[in-house]
Symmetry: C2
Subunit: 117 residues, 2 copies
Amino acid sequence: MRIGELAGLTGLSRDTLRFYERTGLLVSRRLPNGYRDFPPEAVPWLRYVRTAQALGFSLAEIARTGAELSAAPDAAERLSELFREKIALIDARTAELAALRADLAGRVGTGCPLAPA
Amino acid sequence: MRIGELAGLTGLSRDTLRFYERTGLLVSRRLPNGYRDFPPEAVPWLRYVRTAQALGFSLAEIARTGAELSAAPDAAERLSELFREKIALIDARTAELAALRADLAGRVGTGCPLAPA
DNA sequence: CTTGACCCTGGACAGTACTCCACCCTCCAG
DNA sequence: CTGGAGGGTGGAGTACTGTCCAGGGTCAAG
């Protein structure tokens, strides 16, 4: 599909997609007229990219694991592994948030000294 | 205290502290010789800043609520309120992560099509 | 008085993630 | 054939969050 359609399907701008391609996050073939031609898998891939980004990964990291993935002979297995890693990360982050929450909750109502100088 | 001590106590660099001061995130008096003089409260305040940052607030937002706070007559009450807001935010974020986790967990082991083109 | 640790300022530079622009080409409908 | 939507490129610009540096002042110890 061409860039406009992909932009419509993902909610990303054309500029962002071109930017992602430049940084190696997205691959495309070219049509005879020079237009980019994205495969349909680009849609779930971009969903995955946004997920990973939400988890705090930089685009460079995401591109790296993506390249690793497509190079692996056992892509499905590697992907499952990656997902398991991400799940662990989510669990860690959730625990962090819980700790933060407890800390803050413990202070609500107390006249604690956190105001700037 | 002077900038070096604050840097030591918070783990931030002097440059970062000066940067925070420029952006209004941190306030200091000046000693007769021109050196910055930070109040001891700067330490918990910076801890709070890091917390808020971890929650996804930009430094500008943190500075804004900080200014608002120090202007408020009922600082302790406002702070508790802020904390309650942050707790709600944490809960929302935790729920998001849980959803993401469930999504990923459901896919582990399946040969799902998320590889880049 | 010199040395070294520490502080000051202003400004350049960096990495991340976009966003916008000028200028040009392609394609299809009317 | 023309107009307009949509595509391409290179490059500049932006916002955020720092980081580094040159050039220079301050201060206490030896």
